[in-house]
């Protein structure tokens, strides 16, 4: 069994073939480094990041938040985006800021919801944010309708460009827990939506354990050290043999069940089979930039519930599970998954929608994130935005610092950072400014795929100012011409 795995690997290496699933070693690239020796272009990668925050608090917009006063290149940096010119060098030439974005809102309770829009009540706009479809009007007596009716941008892209990569797409989340027990998540924890076997939208839950993400991504790697390679091959063989038995037994049980139980166990079995397919995939060939990352070890300890702020409880592990360290591991994994061409598509949620995470250790302020957006000084809130931006800068810099072909990995990426909210008039309360608003939104864009512009502040045109227009642009950048739900059209200024 192990011999078979090794011989297949040897064969692939010996043949020098350009099997998809192998990393992009220089030897595989054509003379000019911009195309595969076999004639195909270097693959494009698509990554959408997300943070569960807006650009201010109910006290007002955070001054000098991530939107700079100047339009065009060479924009100035407020405190929230100080990391764009910090330990990772000057990223202003890489990261574009798109401001003037909005998700249109229903203006009266029970009234119509505009195309691609959301309801008056906040905290239920997963659908327009990620699929570009309008939220459904809540049924009488209900304040929110969380239904998701479409496919998210990353899944549209994955269907088009994943090819035979080992993972059609990856979903990661740094915030470890909801931190608010007794409350359902209602998709606050999900960015990616595909279609199930019946053609209905299906949430693709992110992996929130760095340990699990690492094991899933890297257990197929065959180390150079022959002894380690043999052990790794043995482990792969074991996993396959075990899953084979589990699969067969579960299939027998599915046949004995009916109704909802049958459907649920079948779903479980389908996901076992996904695991088996991942194990059968050609292992990546370590070399060049593609390296087995150092094992991150056990996950940081999980923090408990966290239901408020103040009161001197911040010495507790409440509401925080070292998301800073977790976020770093996930960023490293996204990066290496792209380098090794294990996947070409990812979504990465740093903090959940309506995040209840304790932000003391990230920002120096004694709050949980959601409460902070409602009650804190807007200037302090910059520190929460800044943590997200530092994480984003870390990831973009890693992509920039990785050579690929004639240029860098970042040259072949289309990366976006989407936030939950902006700031503006409240249709809920009539307040002049609230963070419960999808007016005044901004997004970040990085990468050079498909001729994306590098490092400019762009104001979205009025006819393409939905956040979905940025997503459509990112899709276009990786060669996918498609609407996103109700949203169509790219933002021309995002392209050179």
């Amino acid at each position: 069994m192990s011999a078979l795995t090794l011989s297949r690997r040897t064969f692939l290496r010996g043949a020098g073939g350009v099997a998809i699933g192998l990393p992009l070693l220089d030897i595989m690239l054509g003379e000019h480094g911009d195309a595969l020796a076999g004639g195909g272009a270097l693959p494009s990668r698509f990554l959408l990041c997300f943070g569960g925050f807006g650009l201010g608090t109910d006290q007002g917009p955070s001054p000098n938040n991530l939107v700079p006063p100047e339009i065009g290149p060479g924009y100035s940096l407020g405190p929230a985006v100080a990391a764009f010119d910090g330990p990772y060098g000057d990223l202003r030439s890489e990261i574009s800021i798109v401001s003037g974005l909005a998700i249109p809102s229903q203006t009266t309770y029970g009234g119509p919801i505009p195309p691609g829009g959301r309801g008056v009540n906040f905290h239920a706009h997963t659908n327009p944010l990620f699929t570009g479809n309008a939220s459904l009007v809540p049924p009488p007596g209900d304040s929110h309708d969380y239904t998701v009716t479409g496919v998210s941008s990353d899944q549209i892209v994955a269907a088009a460009i994943a090819g035979d990569t080992n993972f059609a797409s990856l979903q990661y989340r740094a915030q470890a827990l909801l931190y608010n027990s007794g409350v359902y998540a209602y998709w606050r924890d999900v960015m990616s939506w595909g279609l199930d076997a019946g053609g209905q939208p299906e949430p693709l839950y992110p992996v929130a354990s760095p340990r699990q993400a690492f094991d899933t991504l890297f257990l197929g790697f065959v180390p150079d050290d022959p002894r380690k390679a043999a052990a790794a091959a043995l482990e792969i063989g074991k996993r396959k043999s075990i899953l084979d038995v589990v699969d067969r037994r579960m299939g027998g049980m599915v046949d004995r069940l009916g109704g909802a139980d049958k459907a649920k166990l079948q779903e479980h079995l389908d996901k076992i089979r996904t695991l088996e397919q991942q194990l059968d995939a050609t292992p990546p060939n370590v070399g060049g930039q593609c390296q087995l990352l150092r094992d991150p070890g056990p996950d940081p300890a999980l923090g408990g519930d966290f239901a408020g702020d103040g009161g001197g409880v911040y010495d507790a592990n409440a509401g925080y599970s070292d998301e800073h360290a977790r976020a770093r591991v996930f960023a490293d994994l996204v990066h290496m998954a792209f380098v090794c061409d294990l996947t070409r598509v990812g979504t990465y949620m740093y903090t959940m929608m309506q995040s209840f995470m304790n932000v003391l250790q990230l920002s120096g302020h004694e709050y949980q994130l959601h409460d902070m957006t409602h009650s804190a000084n807007a200037f302090y809130f910059n520190d929460v935005i800044a943590w997200h931006m530092e994480q984003f800068a870390y990831l973009v810099a890693k992509l920039r610092d990785t050579p690929e072909g004639d240029g860098t990995l970042l040259d072949h990426c289309a990366v976006g950072f989407l936030t939950e909210a902006g700031g503006g008039y409240s249709y809920e309360t009539g307040a002049a400014y609230t963070t419960h608003s999808t007016d005044g939104m901004a997004m970040l864009v990085a990468g050079g795929a498909g001729g994306l512009v590098r490092g400019e502040h762009i104001v979205a045109p009025a006819n393409a100012n939905h956040t979905g227009n940025v997503l459509v642009s990112l899709m276009r950048a990786v060669g996918v011409e498609s609407d996103l739900g109700d949203v169509s059209g790219h933002i021309p200024g995002l392209f050179v």
Binding site: V120, N121, F122, H123, P139, G141, D142, S143, D145, L177, L178, S181, G182, V183, Y184, Y186, L204, Y205, V207, A208, S209, R211, Q212, D215, K238, S241, I242, V245, V246, R249, M250, M253, L257, G258, G259, A260, D261, K264, L265, H268, K271, T274, L275, P298, L302, G304, F306, A307, G308, D309, G310, G311, G312, V313, A316, A318, G319, Q368, S375, T429
Partner: protein, 572 residues
């Protein structure tokens, strides 16, 4: 999946199965119905399932047939049951009991459960790729740790292998461990398949325990390990009703009593037919309460029900508060086996010096111990910091959230969600300089008043106790805003403070009715439905007859025919 449906479930008023105090329920229902016009009719519409089947009057047939081994089973009240995945808590208990693994390994590797308030509702258990991948990694971690521990593995494997390919020992291990893991004996072909898997690796690795490892890994990912699947035998003359096998009853029983898997003795009892009658199940349930695992499990039921599994305080304070409440539950339910109502009226509490100082109560002699409440105005669990820490808002108590929490959980009288035109994230702002009670006055106006009276008036009756359970005379940092502590449970009466609230809810038989429904929910992994009424009504009566002993409540829950049968689920 759909939000509106979920909320619809949550706002259904309780069924009027408590015949003893129908006037109380009627009064409260009237009040709640007045809270909002479109609350579903308490007697009918809106239930998401179970409306067909036995319904109001039994369809005549109470003949369970021969397969049950029990005479004249009462099939009225048999409810549907779906496949139930082990929760993280249960998974960790099971690997502790099967493999001696105390590390609670699933917490980090499996997705967290949503709680409402219990973590085991099967309709909420989604199958996700992170779950299935996490289970695979978890199985590997647990199995490898296990075989690396010579003491544990010797105990569990049960034979000393004569060599790596000792087929007899491998077969013995698979037969015994497989029975415990899958909660039933394995068929010969099943044993053969697992033995073959194990021996292949034992031989190729020249290590018997390499074979044990792969067998454990396979079983920990098995569909019948991960899920509690009930099949049973269809009852003659009662289409759609199935008598559970003895093993299936053993499994229901052990997860109800211990939150864990049946042990060898319980499976042996099942095999011997001892669980084929309600009397047999009842006797076994009583016996199982003597196991220390029952104490932990009863403590956890209360913590989930009342929302204090995790508290937003420093680890030391959290620990002290959890210890305080656990000590009271342990004393009332197990040490004294007294009326469970004493949980709400107990005149003493278990404190350490830190917590005594926190509350402003006398410190116990020695490091920790029982302290009398005296005339402090406190009494029972509702005066504990654990309970009073739940449902707070940003920076302060929320009388609205506290009141809603008490209505929803303690009284089983759920308050409907806010109407569509309310932004409920923030407490009312009021005018600058307003005292808190004045800020909340906006809730008493117009259309808001009906529902908010149900919640806010309860919350304000506890307002002298801050969100860590400390007594206070006035609003935080506002000596000019004295707190009166006057509150009311609309329909029941006025009160002031947690002791008086507890007395009010006990005297009106509200908590004792509610807890029966909550135990049902925890036991069955789903909310109560109309079809369950005869069962729950009988359990409630048994609870009353026992003098409200909580141990008796659990035994009553297990010792009914409805516990040994299942009704086919509606087709999706």
């Amino acid at each position: 999946m759909c939000y509106s449906l979920a909320v619809f479930d949550a706002v259904l008023p309780p069924r009027r199965w408590n015949s003893m105090k129908k006037w109380v329920w009627a009064g409260l229902l009237l009040a709640t119905t007045a809270c909002k016009d479109d609350v579903p009719n308490p007697e009918g519409g809106g239930s998401t399932g179970g409306e067909e089947g036995s319904g109001d009057d039994a369809p005549g047939s109470s003949d369970a047939g021969d397969t049950t081994g029990g005479p004249e089973a009462d099939l009225d009240g048999v409810g549907p049951s779906g496949m139930r995945r082990l929760t993280r808590y249960e998974f960790d208990n099971v690997v502790r009991d099967l493999l001696g693994d105390d590390s609670r390994p699933s917490q980090a590797l499996l997705p967290e459960e949503e709680r409402a308030p219990f973590d085991n509702e099967y309709s909420r258990q989604e199958v996700t790729q992170p779950l299935v991948s996490g289970l695979e990694i978890l199985a590997r971690t647990v199995a490898q740790d296990f075989v690396a521990d010579a003491t544990r593995r010797a105990e569990v494997v049960g034979c000393t292998p004569a060599g790596p390919s000792d087929a007899t020992c491998m077969r013995g291990f698979v037969t015994d461990f497989g029975r415990l893991a899958l909660r039933r004996p394995l068929a010969t072909a099943e044993v053969d398949e697992l033995v073959d898997l194990g021996l292949a690796y034992a031989q190729s690795q020249d290590d018997f325990f390499a074979g044990v490892e792969v067998i454990v890994r396979a079983l920990l990912q098995d569909g019948e390990f991960i899920y509690r699947i009930e099949i049973g035998t269809e009852v003659a003359d009662a289409p759609g009703v199935f008598a559970l096998s003895g093993y299936e009853v053993a499994t229901r029983l052990s997860f109800l009593m211990w939150g864990s898997t049946p042990d060898d003795a319980l499976l042996t009892a099942a095999e011997a037919g001892e669980l084929d009658t309600t009397a047999g199940v009842r006797a076994m349930a009583q016996q199982m309460l003597a196991d220390p695992r029952a104490r932990t499990h009863v403590d956890r039921f209360h913590a989930l029900w009342l929302g204090y599994t995790e508290l937003p305080h420093s680890p030391a304070l959290t620990h002290a508060m959890r210890t305080e409440t656990a000590a009271l539950v342990e004393r009332v339910v197990f040490e004294d086996d007294a009326s469970w109502l004493e949980l709400f009226t107990f005149p003493e509490t278990y404190l350490d010096a830190t917590l005594a100082e926190h509350y402003g109560l006398p410190a116990p002699a020695g490091g920790a111990g029982w302290v009398g409440y005296g005339d402090s105005g406190r009494m029972g669990l509702m005066s504990h910091g654990s309970f009073l820490s739940v449902a707070a808002s940003a920076a302060d108590t929320s009388p609205t959230k506290r009141g809603k929490f008490i209505r929803d959980q303690v009284m089983c009288m759920p308050i409907p969600p806010p109407p569509p035109d309310v932004m409920a994230d923030n407490p009312p702002e009021g005018e600058a300089g307003d005292c808190k009670i004045d800020r909340y006055a906006v809730h008493a106006q117009g259309a808001c008043a009906g529902c908010h009276a149900q919640m806010d008036l309860v919350g304000f009756g506890l307002e002298n106790y801050d969100r860590a359970g400390r007594f206070r005379e006035h609003d935080d940092d506002r000596p000019d805003c004295p707190i009166s502590g006057e509150g009311e449970v609309v329909g029941l009466g006025e009160f002031n403070g947690p002791a008086a609230l507890a007395q009010l809810l006990v005297d009106n038989e509200v908590v004792q009715s509610c807890v029966t429904e909550q135990v049902f929910r925890y036991a069955m992994g789903r909310p109560m439905d109309e079809v369950d009424e005869p069962y729950v009504e009988a359990v409630a009566q048994g609870f009353v007859d026992s003098g409200h002993r909580f141990q008796a409540l659990l035994v009553e829950m297990a010792g009914r025919d409805a516990f040994r049968y299942r009704r086919e689920q509606e087709q999706p």
